[in-house]
Amino acid sequence: MGTNCPDEVESVNHEPLLHATPSGDVLKLRPEGPWTAANVVTLETLSRSVGTDVDRSRAVTLDMSGISALDTLGAWVLEKLSRRAATSGRSAEFVGVADHFSGLMDEVRQVNRHTPAASAAPNPVLARLGELGKSTVGAREDITIFLQMLGALFMAIIGVLRRPRSLRLTSLVYQLYRIGWQAIPIVTLITFLIGAIIAQQGFFHFRRFGAESYTVDMVGILVLRELGVLIVAIMVAGRSGSAYTAELGSMKMREEIDALSTMGLDPVDVLILPRVAALVIALPILTFIGSIAALYGGGLVAQLYGDMGPAIYIARLHEAISVAHFEVGILKAPFMALVIGIVACSEGLRVKGSAESLGRQTTTSVVKSIFLVIVLDGLFAIFFASIGM
């Protein structure tokens, strides 16, 4: 038999051995026992121990008659010894190979004969520079892909405007249900907590110089202009953007997207437009709900922690904020949704064959869309400041 189970080998046979007897210039090696993968540690030690003797002798004979079991690994270790012996005009030969091992030995003599041209290890500095260059080009590619997707979406929208019936209404409603309706509880909870925390911090710090009533101004303006939409957009990017990437990515892996294309359907029409449109519709609604929840959280803290009754809180809020603050926040929502949707879908379509690639693209999608949401928020802040809103 070629091999046996590991502990069987140990109980039935002995440890593998390697006897080396030099006679003149000729070295006689006599391996004994089971030369199998289970004994690999011993085999490596044995073959290393005779290495120098092999290098010194002019000819090596390997007497195989003492071997009780042999597998590919054992055969290769012996073959390697004989190749080491056979370098620079010296000779090596196998004798006494048992019949049932000869096939394996012949097979092993053929392998590892040809080494592929090893690619030279690159200069580390050059490699770094190369990576930098690659990622720069990659960034340009990212922008191109983003713009392509934006263009494709735009064309799809024009198509829908021309033939309103071509809109995939079922899909749109289903996506709205998934990313809008089902997200309401968690969005409400988180924004409620954020509102409460900001109010608590306001009361705690403003109390020291008697400016408690300004806490309401801070909560109102911060939540309506910035935090409401930002928190909701980040949550949606993590919750729904990642789902989009993973869905489209696994569809790409299983060739479903190719199947769609071959049926004459545009994946952008069928898969991407409903998803992005659902995001663009849902995000302002979620932002509204989130902002109200945050204001409610602030009011609750005002009553329980700041000794400010609901009537005063609402009156104060009424003075502090205007419709413009609300508009600034809610106007940003659809643009953020568009960015999240485009990034999520185009990352999904970039998934390649492996499971690892799916994970990597999903991570990239979330990181990139959160980054872009924050950058976009900054740009909007500059824009609104310059038009005086």
Binding site: G2, N4, C5, A37, V41, W76, L104, E356
Partner: protein, 255 residues
């Protein structure tokens, strides 16, 4: 070296396997002799893969015994990779590892050996299954169907297991690639003295490489023996399988 009672690599006795109220294998008994290539045929969904997966231990059994290399199955645990190699239908290569790392995986997990030796063994295995050293740094997604099967075979053989399980090894391959794969299995079986358990529908494989063929129908082995004997079998399902229009056409041309 072999004791007479050890002439069977796999012994299955009275095996019952089912899911819920459905019984898939009903008191099935099967012996696989050492050093033979046994082909298993059966209707699609008839329990061939279930039988293979039960022997490997992926599916629990209701009753019955399974001995693999003289030891009850299920006692192999982490040493399983040394007891058998398995070629899954789709290859089941780890997609995040290169071909080389895929072949080295069982070595790395089960043995302590130097990186140099591990690399050499991996290339040796790849060359034995007919691939080149240049293919070693590719990822599974870059391989063709035939190459995927060969890499999966190299990985299954990494530890020189005495038993090799093949789940439809030639499905999805063109006839030329399938023929080459059959020849490869036959060669490796001879050199490495393997016992091969092969689930297949490929009549050409059954005729050319299998020493014996077992037919699974109604949860039992209804016929077992060399292909010649199976062709003479009177069992209705076996007759339908080998003497249906498709089979007849093929066998006719092979004569």
């Amino acid at each position: 070296m072999e004791e007479p009672q050890d002439q069977f690599a796999i012994r299955v006795r009275d095996l019952v396997v089912g899911f819920g109220r459905q019984t898939v294998l009903d008191h099935l008994s099967l012996d696989v002799r050492r050093g033979e290539i046994l082909g298993l045929v059966g209707a699609s969904g008839g329990g061939k893969s279930v039988l293979m997966r039960t022997i490997i231990g992926l599916i629990p059994r209701r009753s019955g015994t399974i001995d693999v290399m003289g030891r009850p199955a299920g006692n192999h645990g982490r040493g399983a990779a040394m007891a058998w190699g398995i070629l899954f239908q789709q290859g089941a290569l780890f997609s995040s590892l290169t071909v080389r790392q895929n072949v080295q995986f069982p070595l790395r997990e089960n043995l302590v050996l130097s990186q140099e030796l591990m690399d050499e063994i991996a290339i040796a295995k790849l060359e034995m299954v007919g691939l080149r050293a240049e293919d070693a740094d590719k990822y599974p997604a870059e391989l063709s169907g035939g190459m995927t099967k060969r890499v999966a075979l190299a990985r299954a053989l990494a530890l020189d297991p005495p038993i090799l399980f093949l789940d439809e090894p030639t499905s999805g391959l063109d006839p030329i690639a399938a023929g080459e794969f059959d020849a490869l299995i036959k060669t490796l079986q001879k050199t490495l003295e393997l016992t091969v358990f092969m689930v297949t529908h490929d009549l050409a494989s059954l005729t050319t490489v299998c020493d014996r063929v077992a037919a699974l129908a109604d949860g039992k082995i209804v016929a077992i023996g060399p292909m010649r004997e199976l062709l003479q079998s009177e069992h209705p399902w076996v007759r339908a399988y080998f003497h249906g229009k498709r089979s007849q056409m093929l066998q006719h041309e092979m004569r």
